[in-house]
């Protein structure tokens, strides 16, 4: 704002620009406008080579981070790729570097149907995709409504905001055990309630059979809607009240303001929240593992659980690695959009 006023007054060239970060105005001085001391720009030396050195970012400082990334991400990733092409099982694990090479056999097996143990990998992909999408679609309106409810000040708002976070701060396994008990057949609270309301039989199975999918969705929705709520609440703080006042003066209703101001302004943060939420739900292992145990119903046999059973319970690490890499490829689709969105954000800013 300061630079704008200066330009309008015509007294000064806008040497100083400013940005607002968290309510604090920070002055930014363009590089070419840096004051000179003793004939040279501050921070630069007389020598051309040294000047270039000083102006170049100190890449060497990244070496520890790169080394850590190599150790924690790149090496296991390369090992996973290698493992997916070998027959690594109980017969070869003690000497895994000499496990026989089987080419694409593990990938073919991952795609083949007829798994006696729960679902096939393909079926698990479908379960995971539908689970993550269904959960995200349900929690989005819930989170937005909750954020809007506590955005305006009212008595006890702090307490309500804290209460909203309870499902989110509960450990996942506690949540899973709680819902397992609620969904127990016959004596679980859900069956008891449905039977009392004459909506379903007392013998409505939620932990096995097709309804296990919805049991998993319900449990995850309960635990994860505060994530969207938090993101939206943060986004709402950035929308100027003046916009709503202008809209109100122009005769806009609350609905119109919501759809024409709130939602468009929330779009970037909501997009990010939906992407992160989808990725988190896709990778959810603990909830189905604790809620259903192994083997889960095929309808609740999400890909991470299937990979775990294949690798660690049946000792078939080659197949497990192939399934993990398939997961990675699937996850790269939303990840691609996520990275693109970040770049878009950088370009815009």
């Amino acid at each position: 704002m300061a630079s704008k006023w200066a330009a309008e007054l015509g007294c000064l060239r806008p040497l100083v620009t400013s940005i607002e970060v968290g309510g604090v105005t920070v002055a930014v001085v363009p590089a070419r406008e840096r004051p000179e001391v003793g004939g040279s720009t501050i921070g630069l030396t007389q020598s051309g080579g040294r000047r270039r050195m000083a102006s170049r970012p100190p890449f060497w400082m990244m070496v520890p981070a790169v080394l850590l990334l190599l150790m924690i991400v790149v090496t296991p990733f390369l090992l996973s790729i290698y493992t997916s092409f070998i027959k690594l099982d109980q017969y070869t694990i003690a000497n895994w570097t000499r496990a026989p090479w089987v080419g694409l056999e593990n990938y073919v097996t991952a795609f083949s149907q007829g798994n006696a143990l729960g679902a096939s990998a393909l079926q698990s992909v479908w379960v995971s995709v539908t689970f993550s999408l269904a959960t995200t679609l349900i929690i989005t309106p819930v989170g937005i409504v909750a954020a809007l409810l506590v955005n305006k000040p009212f008595r006890g708002r702090g307490a309500v905001r804290a209460m909203f976070l309870i499902p989110y701060v509960l450990p996942v396994f506690v949540n899973a055990i709680m819902w397992r008990l609620l969904f127990m057949n016959g004596w679980g609270l859900v069956d008891q309630m449905l039977a009392n309301l004459h909506l379903a039989s007392l013998n409505t199975f939620w932990l096995i059979g097709p309804k296990s999918f919805w049991a998993m969705v319900i449990a995850d929705v309960w635990a994860s809607w505060p994530f969207i709520y938090l993101m939206v609440l943060a986004g709402l703080q950035g929308i100027s009240e003046e916009l709503y006042e202008s809209a109100w003066l122009d005769g806009a209703t609350h609905w119109r303001s919501f759809f024409s101001i709130t939602l468009p302004m929330l779009r970037p943060i909501l997009g990010l929240a939906l992407l992160l939420s989808t990725l988190n739900h896709f990778n959810n292992f603990t909830l189905p593992f604790v809620m259903f145990g192994t083997p889960p119903a095929p309808q609740a046999d999400v890909l991470p659980l299937n990979v775990y059973i294949t690798s660690f319970q049946t000792f078939n690490f080659g197949l497990g690695a192939a399934m993990s890499l398939l997961t990675l490829i699937i996850m790269m689709v939303p990840a691609f959009f996520y990275i693109r969105m970040l770049r878009l954000g950088e370009a815009t800013s």
Binding site: G49, Y91, A94, A116, L117, A297, T314
Partner: protein, 464 residues
């Protein structure tokens, strides 16, 4: 400009060198370069070199505090009588944790120095070739093979010259029943045939009172194969051929066995439909409520929990029925299996060498001696694998314990195959699928054969 490019290349080269070396060091660190405690202690050090051995045992979830106290006492005694050796111990709470630690330790060649493994995972451990094969000298150092129950030794290794496991304690299975419900139903004695079992269960079943003759847990990952294998053996079949080269899960006997188990719910109505979602703990919880007449395939480790439950004065153990349903004697090829050889074994990975290996053998000898074996029983009801522990020891001279000892003497070993672990999980998958069908009213008994056929192919693929 030229200078700058050279500098740039030089610096890039330096960075690449650092990265390469760093990665090499890192990879070496991840691999065999790391010195594990056992390696540090192994080799040709002097006898004065302090040695630490790491023992990895199953957690006693029923009485964890008793386990802590006992191990504290045992390690103290051992360290006093073996100066220079320190014992550290840790526990695993589930079969999954046991498997995961086993796998990572073998792959990285570092980890615990002694594994306590279940009898049915010992064949898998043996198949890895990652465990120390006990020599004649080793057995002699342990006090000889003759001090153990002979049946327990059948699961120590594929043959007596390839043993990897030392029996620590045994867990034979029996039938546990509610005496009060038996009396109320006018039943005089526990069933000896499966026909009697069904009849007795029907007498005790009263859905209006939420009272059922028996209970099942098809959603448990491991329990289904226990009952399935015993029934299959009684019917003259097995899950694998005698040479453990061919899977026979789809045999007539196997299909008949699993069908009979689910008939408890679908035909005889002697179990609650709630059972379909049960796991092992749920099954026990149901029995402890006092509304279940009989619970099959249960070991002595159940007793501490039962003794603190509402049925603490009403339960008793009896041998499992051995005559198949609808028959008066065993069919051709059928064997009177009451239990499979079950228990815990102590195994030493072959990355443990030198003095550490000798130290681990000393610990194995120590915990399989009579006083320590009796201490295990006193602390949490684990039945000694040492035959001599039963001599003149009143707590093990009770009708219940005698019933278990008889069951142990009639125990049959499961096929010693490296794929047995896979088979257990795959069989659990079949039981789960059938339970799913029943729960959704889409059950067709003919599908059991279909599922077992698919399972058979999967097991066959994992056989060596």
């Amino acid at each position: 400009m030229v200078m700058s490019q050279r500098n740039s290349r030089f610096r890039m080269g330096q960075v690449l060198t650092v990265l390469t070396l760093g990665t090499a060091v890192t990879l070496t660190g991840c691999g065999g370069g790391t010195v594990s405690p056992n390696q540090a202690n192994g080799g040709s050090g002097s006898s004065q070199t302090p040695i630490t051995i790491h023992v990895f045992v199953g957690k006693d979830t029923a009485q964890p505090q008793a386990q802590v106290q006992l191990y504290h006492k045992l390690t103290k005694e051992f360290e006093q009588s073996n100066p220079g050796i320190t014992v550290r111990w840790s526990t695993y709470a589930s079969a999954s944790e046991e498997n995961t630690t086993l796998q990572t330790s073998l792959a990285t060649k570092q980890g615990p120095d002694i594994f306590e493994l279940g009898s049915t995972i010992v064949p898998t451990a043996s198949a890895t070739n990652g465990f120390h094969v006990l020599t004649t000298q080793d057995w002699l150092a342990l006090g000889g093979r003759s001090k153990f129950f002979p049946a327990q030794l059948t699961m120590s290794g594929p043959s007596s010259s390839q043993d990897i496991g030392v029996p620590e304690y045994m867990l034979p299975f029996d039938l546990v029943y509610n005496k009060k419900l038996f009396t109320q139903a006018g039943i005089q004695s526990p069933p000896t045939t499966w026909t009697e079992f069904v009849q007795d269960a029907q007498k005790m079943t009263d859905p209006a009172k939420h009272q059922w003759g028996t209970v099942m847990d098809p959603s448990d990952p491991y329990d289904p194969w226990h009952i399935g294998w015993v029934l299959t053996k009684q019917l003259g079949g097995d899950f694998l051929s005698s040479d453990a080269k061919t899977a026979t899960l789809n045999s007539q006997a196997s299909v008949q066995a699993l069908t009979f188990w689910f008939d408890w719910l679908t035909q005889f109505h002697i179990v609650s439909p709630n059972s379909l979602t049960y796991k092992s703990a749920d099954e026990l919880h149901a029995f402890e409520s006092g509304r279940i007449g009989m619970l099959v395939m249960q070991g002595p480790t159940l007793m501490p929990s039962l003794n603190t439950s509402p049925v603490k004065n009403d339960y008793a153990f009896a041998p499992m029925p051995t005559i198949p349903y609808g028959m008066t004697s065993l069919p051709a090829g059928g064997v009177p299996v009451e239990t499979f050889v079950s228990g815990q074994y102590l195994c030493i990975p072959n990355y443990v060498t030198g003095q550490t290996l000798q130290a681990t053998l000393k610990w194995l000898k120590f915990v399989t001696q009579v006083p320590q074996q009796q201490a295990f029983f006193q602390a949490y009801g684990y039945m000694p694998a040492n035959l001599n522990a039963y001599n003149n020891y009143a707590p093990l001279d009770t009708p219940t314990m005698k019933s278990f000892v008889t069951a142990e003497k009639n125990a049959y070993p499961t096929p010693f195959s490296g794929a047995w672990g896979n088979l257990e999980v795959i069989y659990g998958g079949v039981a789960s699928k059938v339970a799913n069908e029943i729960a959704t009213n889409s059950y067709n008994a003919a599908n059991i054969g279909k599922y077992l056929k698919t399972a058979n192919a999967q097991v066959q693929a994992s056989l060596q």
